[in-house]
């Protein structure tokens, strides 16, 4: 996870992620070719589907909104060297929080109060679902990875139980709440654009995208410009040193996980308040896991995360187009690409580093011997 010392920074943040994506696309392309389709045709279909067709850019940005939230969630935890793979469950519970306050108050509160309240509730529920594994890690020594995995399943069980039970809209079969009133809705971007006279195609893109970008700024300030961020990064670099410097490591771990969970929970703003306008079963559909790929590619930096989210947004939207254009390949292709990107940028992170470092070394300072050590694990 940490940057190896022997690569210049611009190469680590710019070149390596690019190589990772290219490698992932290359392998996926080979799979497409084996299946018997032309990988370049598939690529063109995805690009058109993601950017060219009417309204497609809106869809791409709508998916990207989800990934910004879950990517930021993973990144914040990464800075404290915590691996939060519970984004899926935290986002799911965020939807529960938003759903509960909307069901309770949407008929009596105006949008100006209702929407912020629902946002707070989704962040709050996500934060609790992140803070408990944080507490268990900090105080009880249970491994955050395992606990967050279990919490994903527990969240899924809770949601099935509630949505098929007490939260289910009366007189209806499908496991979902009733639709919220207008005051709990975030406006669509195309509605806003049309109201000020701009032509814009319909898409699920809504105001959450702006909130997501604000969250990016917030995370940047938090991590690099605040006292807490300093404590988080110090804990991540060396818990022992942090402890020695008087940083309350346990508390930092719990708070970091709460922030991380809260950000994941805010994914529900986009899905629940922005698009569905009711809490439904399985609305997270794996976006929490995509957040891991996004954070890895984005090098845990908000700008990188926005760029990676755009890439994954385009992949998801373009992937949906594959279903229509081909009979043999479909959107699950995107899952493969996503897995490969995680593999290349995470598991096989050091595969490109050393050859690239040597290549760059030869190019930048010829004749000098490049040390081959330095692949210390983070």
């Amino acid at each position: 996870m940490s940057a190896p010392q022997d690569l210049p920074r611009w190469a680590d943040v710019g070149l390596i992620p690019l190589l990772n994506v290219l490698a992932a696309l290359l392998v996926s392309g080979i799979v497409v070719a084996i299946i018997g389709e032309n990988p370049f045709d598939a690529m063109m279909v995805m690009l058109k589907g993601a950017f060219i067709y009417k309204g497609s850019l809106g869809y791409t940005l709508y998916y990207a909104t989800n990934f910004i939230f879950t990517g930021l969630a993973v990144a914040v935890a990464f800075h404290a060297l915590l691996f939060n793979i519970g984004g899926e469950g935290q986002a799911y519970l965020g939807g529960l929080g938003a759903g509960i306050v909307c069901l309770l108050f949407d008929s009596m509160l105006p949008a100006l109060i209702m929407v912020p309240l629902a946002i707070l509730a989704s962040a709050g529920f996500g934060a609790i679902w992140g803070a408990i594994p944080g507490y268990l890690q900090a105080k009880r020594g249970s491994h955050i990875v395992i606990t967050t995995i279990m919490f994903n399943f527990l969240a899924a069980s809770i949601m099935v139980w509630l949505l098929a039970g007490s939260l289910k809209a009366p007189g209806q079969m499908s496991p979902e709440t009733r639709s919220f009133t207008r005051s709990a809705e975030l406006p669509f971007i195309h509605d806003i654009a049309n109201s000020i006279g701009l032509e814009m195609a319909r898409s699920p893109l809504n105001l959450s995208f702006v909130i997501a970008l604000l969250a990016c700024v917030g995370v940047w300030v938090l991590i690099w410009r605040s006292r807490l961020g300093y404590a988080i990064r110090t804990t991540g670099h060396s818990a022992g040193a942090a402890e020695y410097a008087g940083i309350p490591v346990s508390r930092v771990i719990i708070i970091t996980m709460a922030i991380s969970g809260g950000l994941a929970g805010m994914m529900a703003i986009n899905e629940i308040l922005g698009v569905q306008h009711r809490t439904i079963l399985g609305f997270t559909s794996g976006y929490g896991f995509t957040g891991i790929a996004v954070a890895l590619m984005g090098r845990n930096h908000p700008i990188g995360i926005v760029l990676a989210s755009l890439l994954f947004g385009a992949l998801y939207q373009g992937g949906a187009e594959l279903d229509f254009e081909f009979s043999t390949i479909n959107r699950e292709m995107v899952l493969l690409i996503q897995g490969l990107i995680i593999l290349f940028s995470g598991g096989l992170a050091y595969m490109f580093n050393r050859p690239l470092a040597r290549l760059l070394g030869l190019w930048l300072n010829p004749g000098k011997n490049i040390p081959t050590t330095g692949a210390e694990n983070g």
Binding site: R140, M150, E332, G339
Partner: protein, 324 residues
């Protein structure tokens, strides 16, 4: 009364069938994790091998060929995990996660391309699957009141892979506790530098552990699609790999403990499906969701040390670097 007894026995019978993939995967997990490699890719390996088994069995009409394909693909994924986490010293959790996500995508992608059935494989005929083995005199002995049905319902009528799972537990326990390789395996997960200074290759030992884990996961996958089920359906592992991981932790990384945990989790699953839609006196509708969530809840509680203590191998998750 007799009927209740039979119902109970049928639940126990279902417990064995549901616990089998968990047991195989949990033993796989013990091999990897005892050697110091975190293995959350149990799920993905099992999913890929379930697909491979069903696909090859459908094409060749041989369950055995399917089993070999399943083992092959699962070992290959294990080697990929090893390449990432042993050779390249990458992050083991991320590598495992990547394998799981790739498996989700690949199985459906290849499945649609091969069979055009929305990601499923064709339904397998009886002779293309591992069939139940009726033990001798099952019908006659089954007539004996009370005890007879135990033999007929619970012990007889399992397919060969159920028995393989049972043998896998004995095999794992024997290898770990009684062989030189087992000693090395445990050492490499606790203090790899000790093994290294004794002149034994850390890399080789860990790779061997991952290969054995791959074989076991492959059998588990083949069981799901060609013994328990009759064909592959998308996402058919449905988190079983993670439950096996939980069972392994619940069993404190010990074969026997993990076996009991798998049986417990299998029993909960069997109970839940039996209680589906049944009204229990004083409680109302059976809390099926709660029963199904219990494995996860119990594991969290155990890991947090509220009941007993589960301590992982000390060197787990750390890539071995010689100079350190």
């Amino acid at each position: 009364m007799d009927d209740l007894w039979l119902q109970f026995l049928l639940t126990i019978d279902a417990t064995f069938r549901l616990a089998t993939p968990l047991v195989l995967c949990a033993m796989a997990g013990i091999f990897s994790e005892k050697s110091g490699i975190i293995d959350i890719s149990l799920e993905g390996k099992m999913l890929m091998s379930a697909f491979a088994a069903a696909a090859v069995a459908a094409l060749t009409s041989s369950a055995m060929a399917g089993l070999w394909a399943a083992i092959g693909i699962s070992v290959a994924l294990g080697l990929l995990h090893g390449l990432a986490s042993i050779t390249l010293r990458g992050n083991q959790v991320i590598s495992g996660l990547a394998i799981n996500i790739m498996a989700s995508g690949l199985t459906v992608t290849i499945g649609i391309a091969m069979f055009q059935k929305g990601g499923q494989t064709p339904s397998l005929a009886r002779y293309e699957r591992f069939r139940p083995i009726e033990l001798p005199f099952a019908d006659q002995l089954g007539q004996i009141p009370f005890l007879g049905p135990i033999y007929r319902e619970v012990i007889s009528g399992h397919n060969i892979l159920v028995w393989v799972a049972l043998i896998a537990v004995l095999f794992t326990a024997f290898i770990l506790a009684r062989t030189r390789f087992g000693l090395r395996l445990r050492a490499v997960g606790e203090k790899p530098e000790a093994l290294d200074s004794a002149g034994i290759s850390v890399v080789k030992t860990r790779f061997l552990a991952l290969i054995i884990a791959g074989v076991l996961c492959g059998i588990a996958g083949a069981y799901l699609s060609t013994a328990h089920g009759s064909g592959f359906v998308r996402e058919m592992t449905a988190g079983k790999g993670y439950i096996a991981l939980a069972a392994m932790i619940f069993g404190k990384w010990q074969p026997r403990g993990a076996l009991y945990a798998c049986l417990l989790f299998g029993f909960l699953e069997a109970l839940a499906s039996r209680l589906q839609g049944i009204e229990i006196p004083f409680i109302g509708a059976a809390p099926v969701d709660l029963i199904l969530a219990l494995p996860y809840l119990l594991t969290v509680i155990l890991l947090a040390g509220f009941v007993g203590r589960a301590v992982p191998p000390r060197a787990i998750g750390q890539p071995y670097i010689k100079e350190r």
